[in-house]
Each structure stands twice: as structure tokens, then as C-alpha cells.
């Protein structure tokens, strides 16, 4: 449900950016966002919500950002399966901390020129 609120926020940023650019550069080709594993946002639902209300503003491209579990001694735990969490470091048994994964960011708006070709 709240994916629509996220799309609303995103659309406001895209419209503001377009307005700043003036009439010649208005076609948006793609909107890239970074969504973290801890952001409580489901990427497929977000894409559907974008498709429903904002598809004329280009394609939504979601970059999924995993949270990292890190041991102070051994570094990042490589074995963690998506969606599962470890209590302790598999190498040394120390507690782990969580880093990253809270992204909910607009990364980039990619514009095409008026006839649809990319402008370099």
C-alpha cells in the first residue's frame, strides 16, 4: 500500500527536476532508484505502482541494495542468504552489526531529447 506514497514522493522530485530544466529537455527516459533491504519497500510493487500512475515519466529502474552483516574482526559475512540474518559471526562467534540497506533514494533521472534519441 505505501508503495504509492513512495511513488508520489518520487514523482514530485521528477516533476521538480523537469520544471527546472525548461521545455527542451522534458522527455524522461528512465528514473533510477536505490531501495535498501531495510527500507520496507517491495521493488516489484513499487514498479507496478510507478507503472500505474507515472509511466509517462519513463521507466522505473530499481537498484536493490542488500544490507551487510559485518564482524568487527573478520569483516563482512559473505554467506548470508537473501532475507536471512545471522546472530553471530560464523568465523569467530562475535556479534555482528548491520550496515547499509536503508536506501530509499532517487539516484538518477535519465532524459532523452525531443525525438527520443539519447543526447550525449
Amino acid at each position: 500500500m505505501h508503495e504509492l506514497s513512495i511513488v508520489e514522493g518520487l514523482l514530485k522530485l521528477v516533476l521538480a527536476d523537469r520544471a527546472e530544466r525548461g521545455p527542451s529537455d522534458r522527455a524522461v527516459r528512465a528514473v533510477r532508484v536505490a531501495i535498501g533491504e531495510l527500507a520496507s519497500v517491495e521493488p516489484t510493487q513499487l514498479a507496478h505502482a510507478w507503472q500505474s500512475v507515472a509511466s509517462e515519466h519513463g521507466e522505473l529502474v530499481v537498484e536493490w541494495c542488500r544490507a551487510r552483516q559485518v564482524c568487527a574482526t573478520c569483516g563482512e559475512v559473505p554467506e548470508r542468504q537473501p532475507g536471512s540474518w545471522l546472530r553471530l559471526c560464523p568465523a569467530c562467534g562475535d556479534p555482528l552489526r548491520v550496515e547499509g540497506g536503508d536506501e530509499l533514494d532517487l539516484v538518477e533521472i535519465e532524459y532523452a531529447n525531443e525525438n527520443g534519441a539519447l543526447r550525449c
Binding site: 500500500m1 505505501h2 506514497s5 513512495i6 514522493g9 518520487l10 514530485k12 522530485l13 527536476d17 530544466r21 529537455d25 532508484v33 536505490a34 533491504e37 531495510l38 527500507a39 520496507s40 519497500v41 544490507a67 536471512s84 540474518w85 545471522l86 546472530r87 556479534p95 555482528l96 552489526r97 548491520v98 540497506g101 536503508d102 530509499l104 533514494d105 532517487l106 539516484v107 538518477e108 533521472i109 535519465e110 532524459y111 532523452a112 531529447n113 539519447l118 543526447r119 550525449c120
Partner: protein, 224 residues
């Protein structure tokens, strides 16, 4: 290729509204707590009990969000807690603008603590700042001990976790230490309290936590 690459928060508008509220609460010296849990975990019951303990000594009020009905605000007012209901009409979380509008309508007057009882939901409210000092998450023992790792978003953001309905522990399979371990894996410095509004377990610690957070916010060293 023509791009705009200034990375921005998608919820920038909500963040700005929340920052305004935060400034306003800082000027007023009001501690603001955002309570998040599944429906039925005991947010309203906790606030009723909190009101009974604090209403005589602190000026407290509540903004409560639900999809429909005034039931929670009615209960809280009956417990002596001035309250304003927000009915979201279907939305699964509160946003900062809801809090701003509810505050304007409620006219609470000067407050020591404002509680925001969010819509019952462990997912969506986690993403939205409301100008609060901290989020607290409630997990009742009847919900099961596997929840923190299943809802890492909220358990990594809440600096206080209350395990509620602890009086029912003898009747349910709920491993408190496992839950404590999962919560502190997601948020190492989280305060985890075991509470019950039936036998009042943990309620004094909860009220102490609120009093010392209020003292800290006002730059006063709390006395025990």
C-alpha cells in the same frame, strides 16, 4: 546522455515536514515518541497505563492513527490522555503532514510528551519520519518470537523495543532471549523491555525511560 545525478531522498518532502516538526518540538521542549506495532500488540493499552502513571506529573497527549473509527482516541481520552484521532481512510501509515494537521486541529497546549500511536502495521510506518525523538516497536508475546528477523526494517530503526503482554509468557512458546538477540543483532544499542499492563511489569522502567529521555532533550540530568 543527459542525466541528473544529484542523489536525493525519495521521501524528501516528508523528511522536510518532519524536520519542521522536529524543530518545533525542540523549541517547545516536547519529547515525541512514535509507537509502531502490529494491530493488537497493545499500543493503546500501553498508553492507557502510561497515562495513569504520568498524567499527574507530566503534560502528555496522543495523536493516534487508524484506518477507521475514533475507538482508540475514545479509550485514551477515557484514560485521561488528551487525544486526537487521525483516520487515514485506508492508508497504512502516518506521514509528517498528518501529524502537523492533527496538531493544529487538536490545540493541546504546552506538552512534555507527545505520543504518536501509528497505524497498526510493522512494515510501512518504518519509512516515515514524523518529527519524533525515537520510534518504539511493540511485539506482544502472542505474536511469536520469530518476528524481528521477519520485519528487519522496523526493528533496525526502533531504538526501544517493548515485549508486551509478558503476563502471558507461561501460556505461549515465546523465547525472550531469542527475541532480544534478534533485536540487538539488527540494532545493537536497542533498549529491550519486558512489559505487561496486567501485572504492571516493566511499566516503571518504561516511564523512567521516558522521563530520562525528556530530561536529556531539555538538557537536564534526570534523577532516578
Amino acid at each position: 546522455m543527459l542525466t541528473t545525478e544529484a542523489r536525493q531522498k525519495i521521501l524528501a518532502e516528508n523528511e522536510a515536514a518532519a524536520a519542521e516538526l522536529r524543530e518545533r518540538f525542540a523549541r517547545a521542549g516536547t519529547l515525541v515518541v512514535d509507537l509502531i506495532s502490529s494491530p493488537g500488540s497493545g499500543k493503546t493499552a500501553l498508553l492507557e497505563a502510561t497515562a495513569r502513571k504520568l498524567a499527574g506529573s507530566l503534560r502528555i497527549a496522543c495523536i493516534v492513527g487508524d484506518i477507521a473509527t475514533e475507538r482508540d482516541a475514545d479509550r485514551l481520552r477515557a484514560a485521561g490522555l488528551p487525544s486526537r484521532q487521525i483516520t487515514t481512510g485506508g492508508a497504512c501509515h502516518l506521514e509528517a503532514r498528518n501529524v502537523r494537521d492533527a496538531l493544529a486541529a487538536a490545540r493541546f497546549g504546552p506538552l512534555d510528551i507527545l505520543f504518536i500511536e501509528n497505524v497498526g502495521n510493522l512494515v510501512c510506518p518504518a519509512s516515515f519520519a514524523l518529527g519524533e525523538d525515537f520510534k518504539i516497536v511493540l511485539l506482544s508475546v502472542t505474536e511469536g518470537h520469530d518476528k524481528p528477523f521477519k520485519y528487519p526494517g522496523i526493528f533496525s530503526r526502533a531504538s526501544v523495543a517493548l515485549i508486551t503482554k509478558s503476563d502471558l509468557l507461561p501460556y505461549v512458546a515465546f523465547d525472550v532471549e531469542r527475541v532480544r538477540g534478534e533485536i540487538t543483532t539488527l540494532r545493537p544499542n536497542a533498549r529491550v523491555l519486558l512489559t505487561s499492563v496486567v501485572d504492571e511489569k516493566g511499566l516503571e522502567s518504561w516511564c523512567d525511560l521516558l522521563r530520562s529521555a525528556l530530561g536529556e532533550k531539555r538538557g537536564v540530568v534526570a534523577t532516578a
